[in-house]
C-alpha cells in the first residue's frame, strides 16, 4: 500500500515538483513575509500555465487544515487515506464512494481513478465548477476557493503551508508528509528515493570458494553414477574387437614427401618410339659472352652514346637485354633486377612458343660461291681471225655445220645457199633457192648427207653431194626407196613434192609446202624426223615430218602461245 501511495505522490510531485524546489529552505530559516513573498512570486512564475493558481491555493488552505490532521491520523492504508481525503474535501462525495475493496489489489500501471477525465490539460475545466468525473460518472466539484486574503492568511497562519500541494486531478490541497518530503529531497539530490537503501552493501557470497565439510545438498548419489554403463561397455568391446581383428586401423599421417627411386633402372632396353622421335627439344639458352661479365674487358663497355641509345630504345628492339658494366670488386655487384622476369619468360617460351624443326644451312657465304675455272686455264682462246668466208651479197641469216665438221652451210637474204669447206674457206657450191633462206639445218645422221633449208613456206631437202661419194649416193637411194602408201590420208595441208630434172641435178630432192611461212627447221638426232615451226599456223604451229615415209604429224592439238622455237632432246624422245 505504501508503494502505491508513493507512486501517487511521485506523480503529483512530478507535476508540482518545481514548486518545492526552494520552499523548504525558506521555511527552515524563518517564516518571514519577504521570504514567503519571494517564494510566492516564484511560484507564480513557475505555475504560469495555470490561470488562477492563487485563488485555488486559498481554497485549499482551509481544507488543508483539516486534511493534514486527517492524513497524519490515518497514515497507513490507502483506503483510509482516500476516505480521509474524501472526508476533508466534501462529505457528500464520501457517501458516493465505491466500496474500498476495489483498491485492495493494485498494480503500478493502474491509472488514477479518482478523476476519469484522463490525461488532458486541466485548464479546460477552469470555467466549470467541477473538475472532472468520478468513476460513477458524478461530477467532481471544485473545492471551495478562498480569495487572496484567505490565501495570505493561510500562508501566515498555517505552519504547514509550505508542504501543502494542490492535487491537480481533484483540485484539493494535499499536505505532504515527512517521508514524502524525504523522498523528494533524496531525488533532488540525485540519490535513491529510499533513504534506507544502501547500494553498497557488503557482498556475501553464498557459495564460498572455501571447501565446506558438508555437502550443499544431502541427496545420496544414484546407483548409475558408480556402476559402469552396460551400453558403453558393449560399444567399447565392439571397437576393441574390430581393432583386434584388424578391421579398424589407426589413421596414418599422410606423407606428402615425395619418394625417389631409380626410375631409369633399365633404360638401356628402351627403344625409341615415334613420339620420341618427333619430339622437338627446346633450344638451350645462349651462353653468355664477355659482355655479360661483371668485369668485362674495356672494349665491351658501351660508350655514352650507346648507353643513351639503349635507354631510348624499346625493350624489344634492344640487341642486349642488359647494359654491360664494370664493377671493380665482386662485393659491389648488385642483384640483377630482371632475373625472375627472364626466368619467367623462358618458362613461357617453353610451353607457349610453337616449335618447328628448321634446317639450318651450315655453310658460310664463301662455300656458296661456285668454283669457276680461272681464265688462264681456259686458254688458248681463238684470238685471231683465221678464215673469212666471202661470197654472200646480203646478210647471212643462218649457218649449220656438218656433223663431221668438214662442211658448213649458210643461208642468206640474197636467196642463195652456200656450201663451204670449213678448213679452207672455199665455197664449194651455191644454190639459188628463190627466196630468203630463214633457217638451215644439216642432218645429224652421218650416214646420210642431207640439208634442210627453209624458204618462205617451204622446206627444201637438199643433197649437197659433198664429201664421201658412198654416203651421198646411199642418201639418194634412201630417198628413192619411197613408195607412196595405198591410202593417202593426209589431214594436214602439207604437200610433199619430189624434185626432178634440173632441180634434181642441182641437189634439191624434196620440197614440202606449208600453208604459212616457216620460221625454223630442226632435225631429230637419228636423222629421220625433223620438226618445223610455223608461228602463224595456229594449232599447226609445230609439225613433225618423217623423211623416209614422207609423212607429217601434228604433235600439239593446241598451242598455248606463239611457238618460236623447238628442239629435240639429243637422246631421249622429248620435244621441247
Amino acid at each position: 500500500m505504501a508503494s502505491k501511495r508513493k507512486v501517487g505522490e511521485a506523480k503529483l510531485e512530478k507535476e508540482e515538483l518545481d514548486l518545492f524546489v526552494d520552499a523548504p529552505p525558506d521555511d527552515d530559516d524563518d517564516g518571514d513575509d519577504e521570504d514567503g513573498d519571494t517564494s510566492d512570486s516564484e511560484e507564480s512564475v513557475y505555475s504560469g500555465l495555470e490561470e488562477e493558481p492563487s485563488s485555488e491555493e486559498e481554497e485549499e488552505d482551509d481544507n488543508g487544515d483539516h486534511g493534514t490532521e486527517d492524513t497524519t491520523d490515518i497514515s497507513r492504508t490507502a483506503i483510509n487515506d482516500t476516505t480521509g481525503f474524501a472526508g476533508t474535501s466534501s462529505t457528500e462525495r464520501l457517501d458516493n464512494r465505491p466500496p474500498p475493496d476495489e483498491y485492495e489489489f493494485d498494480s503500478s500501471d493502474e491509472e488514477d481513478i479518482r478523476n476519469t477525465v484522463g490525461n488532458i490539460p486541466m485548464e479546460w475545466y477552469n470555467d466549470y465548477p467541477h473538475i472532472g468525473y468520478n468513476l460513477d460518472g458524478k461530477k467532481i466539484m471544485k473545492p471551495a476557493k478562498g480569495d487572496e486574503l484567505d490565501e495570505f492568511l493561510n500562508k501566515m497562519d498555517n505552519p504547514d503551508y509550505w508542504r501543502t500541494v494542490k492535487d491537480k486531478t481533484t483540485g484539493e490541497d494535499v499536505k505532504l508528509t515527512d517521508e514524502e518530503l524525504d523522498i523528494i529531497q533524496q531525488i533532488q539530490n540525485g540519490k535513491y528515493p529510499d533513504k534506507a537503501y544502501n547500494p553498497y552493501e557488503p557482498y556475501i557470497d553464498f557459495f564460498t570458494h572455501e571447501k565446506m565439510i558438508h555437502p550443499v545438498t544431502n541427496r545420496p548419489r544414484d546407483k548409475r553414477s558408480f556402476i559402469p554403463s552396460l551400453v558403453e561397455k558393449e560399444k567399447v568391446s565392439k571397437l576393441v574387437h574390430a581393432i583386434k581383428m584388424g578391421w579398424i586401423k589407426p589413421r596414418k599421417a599422410r606423407d606428402d614427401e615425395p619418394k625417389y627411386y631409380d626410375i631409369w633402372e633399365n633404360d638401356n632396353q628402351y627403344t625409341p618410339d615415334k613420339r620420341y622421335q618427333t619430339h622437338i627439344p627446346a633450344p638451350k639458352l645462349k651462353l653468355p659472352g664477355h659482355e655479360e661479365s661483371y668485369n668485362p674487358p674495356p672494349e665491351y663497355l658501351p660508350s655514352e652514346e650507346e648507353i643513351l641509345a639503349w635507354n631510348q630504345a624499346d625493350p624489344e628492339d634492344r640487341r642486349q637485354a642488359f647494359l654491360s658494366k664494370k664493377y671493380d670488386a665482386l662485393r659491389k655487384v648488385p642483384a640483377y633486377a630482371g632475373f625472375v622476369k627472364e626466368r619467367f619468360e623462358r618458362c613461357l617460351d617453353l610451353y607457349l612458343c610453337p616449335r618447328q624443326r628448321k634446317m639450318r644451312a651450315n655453310v658460310t657465304a664463301e662455300d656458296l660461291i661456285p668454283k669457276l675455272p680461272k681464265p688462264r686455264d681456259l686458254q688458248p682462246f681463238p684470238t685471231t681471225l683465221s678464215v673469212v668466208y666471202e661470197g654472200h651479197t646480203d646478210i647471212v641469216r643462218c649457218i649449220s655445220v656438218e656433223p663431221t665438221g668438214q662442211w658448213l652451210v649458210s643461208g642468206s637474204d640474197d636467196e642463195t645457199l652456200r656450201f663451204w669447206e670449213v678448213a679452207t674457206g672455199r665455197c664449194r657450191k651455191v644454190l639459188q633457192l628463190g627466196g630468203r633462206v630463214r633457217s638451215v639445218a644439216w642432218c645429224p645422221n652421218t650416214a646420210v648427207c642431207l640439208v634442210a633449208a627453209v624458204v618462205d613456206n617451204k622446206v627444201i631437202i637438199i643433197n649437197p653431194s659433198l664429201g664421201d661419194k658412198l654416203v651421198y649416193h646411199s642418201t639418194d637411194n634412201l630417198l628413192n626407196t619411197y613408195e607412196a602408201p595405198e591410202s593417202l590420208e593426209t589431214k594436214l595441208p602439207v604437200e610433199w613434192v619430189a624434185a626432178e630434172g634440173k632441180e634434181h641435178d642441182t641437189g634439191i630432192r624434196l620440197r614440202i609446202a606449208h600453208p604459212k611461212t616457216i620460221r625454223q627447221v630442226t632435225w631429230h638426232g637419228k636423222g629421220d624426223y625433223f620438226a618445223i615451226v610455223m608461228p602463224d599456223g595456229g594449232s599447226m604451229s609445230v609439225l613433225i615430218h618423217q623423211l623416209t615415209k614422207r609423212r607429217s604429224q601434228n604433235p600439239f592439238r593446241k598451242s598455248k602461245g606463239l611457238v618460236q622455237c623447238v628442239l629435240f632432246h639429243p637422246v631421249r624422245p622429248f620435244l621441247f
Partner: protein, 605 residues
C-alpha cells in the same frame, strides 16, 4: 569420272593439327588446367609447315598443337585428378561456409594429390634425356631456393628446392664434375659435365626478394614448372648419387659429424642441423660401399695407337684439371659470398673454411698456419699472415676457366683486376679475340711462362721510349702511308660499299705488318721503305685480280642460293664490323691508358 571428289580439309595438315581452343574442348578441361597439363606433360604448340592448310583455309593467327599430342594428353590420369581437385575445392568451400570444422579437417586430410613419376619416365625415357633437359630445371630450382616462402608459392616448394639444389651441389663436389664458372652481372653461371652431357645453369647472387621487380610475373606458371622440376631433379639426384655409390638421402661421413657434434652449434635447431651441415658443402659424403683408396680406373686397351695415346693424354689432362686446387687450403672471409667459393674450391679438390660465426660446418679457423690462400674482397686486410696469399675471389674462377693456377699477383686485394672473361665463348675465324684471351691461350700452351701482362706493359713502355726518340721519322712514315691509302681509295671509288670493305680488310693486313716491322728495323734506313712500295703495288694488283674473279664467281651463284648467300654475307659483314669496332675501342682505350701513364710519370718526375 565415277570417282568421288576428295573433300577439302579432311586429311593432311588440317587433321594433323588442332587449335588450342578445339584442344580444350576436346579434353573437356579449363584453360588453366590445360596450361598446367601442357607444362607437366611437356606438350608444346607446333608450327605447321603450311599454316593456311592447317587452319582450314583461314589465315587468322592461331596456335596449333599436334592432334596426336592432344590425344596423348587425353589418356593422362592426371586429368582425373584435376577434376577430383575441383570437387574437393567445392566441398571444402561448402564445409567452410557451414562452419563444419570437423568435415573441413577430414576433407583436408583426404585432399587429392597426384604424382608425376610416370610423367618423368614418359618424358625422359632414358637418363641421358633427363640430363639433356636439366639446364632450365636447375636454373629454376636454384632461383626458387632463394625465394622467401610467400603466398604466391604454393606448398613447401622453397624448402624442397633448397634441399635439392644442395644435394645436387654436393654431388658435383663429390663427382668433381664442374667445368666452368662465370661471374656475370646476372649471377653465376656454372657448367658441369655428366655422362657426356654438358649442363649449364645460372644462380643469382644472394640478395633479398625484390617484389617490385617481379610485378608482372605469374608465379603460378612458374610454380607448375617448379612442381615438375622438383620431381625430376629428385630422380636425377637419386640416379646420380647411386651411380657414384653414395647414399641417396645424402649422408655425411662419420668424422664430419663428429667434428660438428663437439661444438655446440647455436645456428639452428638440432633437427635442421644435418641439412645445414650439408648445405655448408664442407664435409664429404658417405658412400654405400667402403671407399677404395685407389679408384677403379678403366684401363684403356694396350694398343700403341696414336688415337689411344691421344685419348690417354686427354684423360690425364682431365684428371689434372679435376685436381686443380689439390692441396689448397682456402679461407673465405665473411664479406665474400661463401657458397660459390666453397663449391668451386671443393669441386677441384681444395679445402675451404670460414669464420665459425658465419655459418655451420667450418673446418678450420683463420689462425690456422697451413692456410695457403685467403679470399677477401676488401681493399686491405686488418691482420695479415705471412704464410698465405690474400687474393680476390676472381682468382679462383679465372683459374678454373684457364684450367691452370694463374699467378696470384694480379689478384691481390686493392689491385685493379684483370678482366673476367667468359669461358663459354668459342672463337671462330674472324671473331674478335680480346688480348687477354690471347695472352692466356699462349700461357696455356706453355709458350709464355712468365707474366704476360706485365711483359706487355714493359714492351709498351719500351715502345713509348722508342716512339719518343724517332718521332719525326715516324711522322714521315705515317704521311706516306696515308698517301698510299689515298691513292688506293681513288682506285676504289667506283666500287660499291661491300667491295670496299673487303678491300679495306685486305689492305689492313700489310699495313699492320708494316707497323710491326717499324720498331725492329733501324729507323734511319729509308731504302727499305722504297722496296716495300713496289711490293705493295704488286700485291694490290694481285688482290684486285683475285677480287674481280671473286666478284665474277658471286655473279654465278644460282638464283636459288643467292638470297641465302646475301643473308650470310650480311651477317659476316656485321660480325666483321663489330669485331672492328671492338678493336678500335680497345686501341683507343690502350692509348688513353698510355697517356695516363705518361702523365703520371711526368708528374712523378
Amino acid at each position: 569420272m565415277g570417282r568421288l571428289m576428295k573433300k577439302k580439309y579432311e586429311s593432311g595438315a588440317a587433321t594433323a593439327y588442332i587449335t588450342r581452343n578445339r584442344a580444350i574442348n576436346y579434353l573437356q578441361i579449363s584453360l588453366p588446367d590445360f596450361r598446367r597439363l601442357c607444362i607437366l606433360k611437356g606438350v608444346y604448340p607446333r608450327e605447321p609447315k603450311n599454316k593456311k592448310k592447317a587452319n582450314k583455309g583461314s589465315t587468322a593467327p592461331r596456335t596449333f598443337y599436334l592432334m596426336k599430342d592432344i590425344q596423348y594428353l587425353s589418356h593422362e590420369p592426371i586429368i582425373n585428378k584435376f577434376r577430383e581437385f575441383k570437387v574437393f575445392v567445392k566441398k571444402l568451400k561448402k564445409a567452410f561456409a557451414k562452419a563444419e570444422h570437423g568435415r573441413v579437417e577430414t576433407l583436408q586430410e583426404n585432399k587429392p594429390v597426384y604424382k608425376l613419376d610416370h610423367i618423368i619416365k614418359e618424358r625422359y625415357p632414358t637418363f641421358v634425356d633427363a640430363l639433356r633437359d636439366l639446364d632450365d630445371c636447375l636454373c629454376l630450382v636454384f632461383l626458387f631456393a632463394t625465394f622467401p616462402q610467400t603466398k604466391n608459392i604454393p606448398g613447401d616448394f622453397v624448402r624442397r628446392c633448397r634441399h635439392l639444389s644442395v644435394e645436387f651441389m654436393n654431388f658435383i663436389v663429390a663427382a668433381k664434375a664442374l667445368k666452368k664458372v662465370f661471374l656475370s652481372i646476372k649471377g653465376i653461371y656454372y657448367q658441369v659435365e655428366m655422362q657426356g652431357q654438358v649442363v649449364t645453369w645460372l644462380v643469382p647472387y644472394s640478395f633479398g626478394f625484390n617484389a617490385k621487380a617481379c610485378a608482372d610475373v605469374d608465379f603460378r606458371v612458374m610454380a607448375h614448372f617448379v612442381e615438375f622440376y622438383i620431381t625430376m631433379l629428385g630422380f636425377v639426384n637419386f640416379k646420380l648419387y647411386t651411380s657414384l655409390g653414395l647414399h641417396y638421402p645424402p649422408k655425411l661421413t662419420f668424422e664430419a659429424k663428429l667434428k660438428d657434434d663437439d661444438e655446440k652449434n647455436p645456428y639452428c635447431l638440432e633437427s635442421e642441423a644435418t641439412g645445414e651441415r650439408l648445405a655448408a658443402l664442407s664435409a664429404s659424403l658417405a658412400s654405400v660401399v667402403t671407399q677404395n683408396t685407389e679408384e677403379d680406373e678403366v684401363e684403356l686397351d694396350e694398343f700403341e695407337d696414336s688415337r689411344t695415346l691421344e685419348a690417354k693424354q686427354e684423360e690425364e689432362k682431365q684428371k689434372a684439371f679435376q685436381k686443380l686446387f689439390n692441396g689448397l687450403k682456402v679461407f673465405v672471409s665473411r664479406e665474400v659470398p661463401r657458397e660459390p667459393i666453397v663449391f668451386t674450391v671443393r669441386s677441384f679438390g681444395g679445402e675451404a673454411s670460414w669464420d665459425r660465426s658465419v655459418a655451420m660446418g667450418a673446418t678450420f679457423d683463420e689462425s690456422d698456419e697451413t692456410i695457403t690462400h685467403q679470399i677477401m674482397d676488401r681493399p686491405k686486410a686488418d691482420r695479415q699472415y705471412l704464410s698465405r696469399y690474400y687474393i680476390q675471389p676472381q682468382w679462383l674462377f679465372d683459374c678454373v676457366n684457364a684450367k691452370m693456377l694463374l699467378p696470384v699477383e694480379d689478384y691481390f686485394p686493392g689491385v685493379v683486376l684483370p678482366p673476367h672473361l667468359s669461358p663459354f665463348v668459342e672463337y671462330k675465324e674472324g671473331d674478335y679475340v680480346p688480348p687477354e684471351k690471347e695472352a692466356l691461350s699462349r700461357r696455356q700452351q706453355g709458350l709464355d711462362t712468365g707474366d704476360a701482362v706485365s711483359e706487355e706493359a714493359d714492351v709498351s713502355e719500351e715502345e713509348e721510349e722508342e716512339e719518343e726518340e724517332g718521332k719525326e721519322e715516324e711522322e714521315i712514315d705515317d704521311e706516306d702511308d696515308e698517301e698510299e691509302e689515298d691513292e688506293e681509295d681513288d682506285d676504289d671509288d667506283d666500287d660499291d660499299e661491300k667491295e670496299e670493305e673487303v678491300q679495306k680488310v685486305e689492305r689492313k693486313m700489310p699495313v699492320k705488318r708494316k707497323q710491326d716491322d717499324v720498331p725492329e728495323t733501324p729507323p734511319s734506313n729509308m731504302k727499305v721503305k722504297e722496296g716495300k712500295l713496289d711490293y705493295e703495288d704488286a700485291s694490290s694488283k694481285a688482290n684486285r685480280e683475285e677480287w674481280e674473279a671473286r666478284k665474277l664467281a658471286i655473279l654465278m651463284i644460282p638464283k636459288k642460293r643467292k638470297r641465302l648467300f646475301e643473308k650470310l654475307s650480311k651477317r659476316e659483314r656485321r660480325k666483321k664490323h663489330e669485331a672492328k669496332k671492338l678493336t678500335t675501342k680497345r686501341e683507343e682505350f690502350e692509348k688513353s691508358q698510355k697517356d695516363m701513364k705518361k702523365k703520371q710519370r711526368l708528374s712523378n718526375k
